[in-house]
């Protein structure tokens, strides 16, 4: 199972990546939306994308719109926003664009596991 962690902050990619590895995922990384699209093209079997909102080059929201507009890639991963954008308006906007879940930073492992379980995604003990 592959998880793509998209965040421009390396510390977040490392922290979140470690949690995803602990719960049984092979972790791919991207530092912006454009890199994330490349990762998705190379790894269409990705099960879940952990997606930051504010990033350079292409932000998370634009990536999400692009991803959901490309069903031809045969990839339909669950998308969990992981962001400091915590306003109700932003949350509704992301959900309307096809986000499945939403984590307001700061996060911890329990929260990530909880959201994965809500979406019916596999969570390995660890």
């Amino acid at each position: 199972m592959k998880a793509l962690v998209v965040d421009d902050a390396k510390v977040v990619r490392v922290t979140l990546g470690r949690i995803m590895k602990q719960i049984g995922y092979e972790v791919l990384e991207a530092a912006d939306g454009a890199q994330a699209l490349e990762q998705m093209e190379a790894n269409p079997d990705t099960a879940v994308v952990m997606l930051d909102w504010n990033m350079p080059v292409m932000n998370g929201y634009d990536f999400l719109v692009e991803l959901r507009g490309r069903p031809e890639h045969g990839s339909d991963p669950k998308v969990i926003m992981v962001t400091t954008e915590t306003g109700m308006g932003q949350m509704l906007k992301a959900l309307a664009a096809g986000a499945d879940e939403y984590i307001m930073k700061p996060f911890d492992k329990d929260m990530v596991v909880s959201k994965m379980e809500i979406l019916g995604l596999e969570v390995a003990e660890g």
């Binding site: 915590t86 306003g87 109700m88 949350m91 509704l92 959900l95 879940e101 939403y102 984590i103 307001m104 996060f107 329990d110 929260m111 909880s114 959201k115 379980e117 809500i118």
Partner: protein, 276 residues
């Protein structure tokens, strides 16, 4: 931190008397860790001193705070998930079918803590019972003043609403206040929170005006009671339920001693109890 045997026995007896909770020596660590914030708050130097102060005024604010600290458990929205799946796919359809549309459905969250269980029940009802906001009423009871005040306020932190709660329910049924989230009035109107002690003979007086109950949640509470207390608690609850009503305990808890009154119903390999 040391505690003399005498003071431990006193606190243990006090908690049993005040709340029905059994604190054996194997739970001494739990007692100590739960009391740490109180020692700081009340500037008390030791567990022995805490015991002495409680003894000097068993109805005072410190004694209340000790009971609160031992009985308040962190609860999650949709804890364990299967009780809510059972409500949605088994229990609510059965009750709606047998009662017909429009009849009141009474539910009791018998150790409601900070209200997450009652809210999770209300959210499930909103998704699976026609006109749930008008016909479903949920009573939450707890022994802890702090937990009841929290539940009545209905304001949860960003951290709390992200444990167990699907975001789609959060944005639909909560209003944002800064970094906190408040239960919307429509949902709040389905919920009432009252102070009640499950081991007290006065229990029925508190809950009866809100019953009889079609469903009772009594989760992860029985473990704290002696075997005799468990029987008495279950009997008191049964006396306030309708025939055919469902009792939902913790996954490993059994409606002990009075099994003849209950039919065991298996749902997703978990046991639910139906009053005969």
């Amino acid at each position: 931190m040391s505690m003399t045997d005498r003071e431990f026995k006193y606190l243990s007896a006090f908690l049993l008397k005040a709340s029905g909770i059994v604190v054996n020596e194997d739970k001494m660590y739990l007692l100590r860790s739960r009391m740490q914030p109180l020692l700081r708050k009340y500037k008390i130097a030791s567990m022995d001193e805490l015991a002495q102060q409680v003894r000097s005024n068993e109805r005072g604010p410190l004694a209340h705070a000790v009971v609160d600290a031992m009985t308040t458990n962190e609860t999650l929205f949709f804890r364990d998930q299967y009780p809510y799946d059972a409500l949605k796919t088994l229990i609510f359809p059965e009750i709606v079918h047998s009662k017909g549309v429009g009849k009141r459905i009474n539910i009791w969250s018998a150790a409601s803590s900070r209200g997450q269980e009652g809210i999770s029940i209300a959210l499930t009802a909103m998704e699976s019972v026609p006109q749930a906001d008008r016909r479903v009423r949920i009573l939450g009871t707890d022994l802890s003043d702090e937990a009841l005040a929290y539940a009545n306020e209905g304001l949860y932190t960003q951290m709390e609403v992200q444990r167990g709660m699907p975001v789609k329910l959060l944005v639909r049924f909560f209003n944002q206040e800064g970094t906190n989230w408040r239960v919307c009035p429509e949902l709040k109107a389905m919920l009432t929170f009252k102070k009640a002690n499950l081991v007290s003979d006065q229990l029925s007086g508190v809950v009866r005006p809100h019953g009889p109950f079609d469903i009772v949640f009594l989760r992860n509470v029985l473990i704290y009671f002696t075997v005799d207390e468990r029987k008495r608690v279950i009997d008191r609850i049964a006396a306030n339920m309708v025939k055919g009503g469902y009792l939902i305990t913790g996954a490993t808890e059994v409606a002990q001693g009075v099994r003849s009154k209950w039919e065991m119903v298996t749902f997703k390999n978990k046991r639910l109890w139906k009053l005969k």
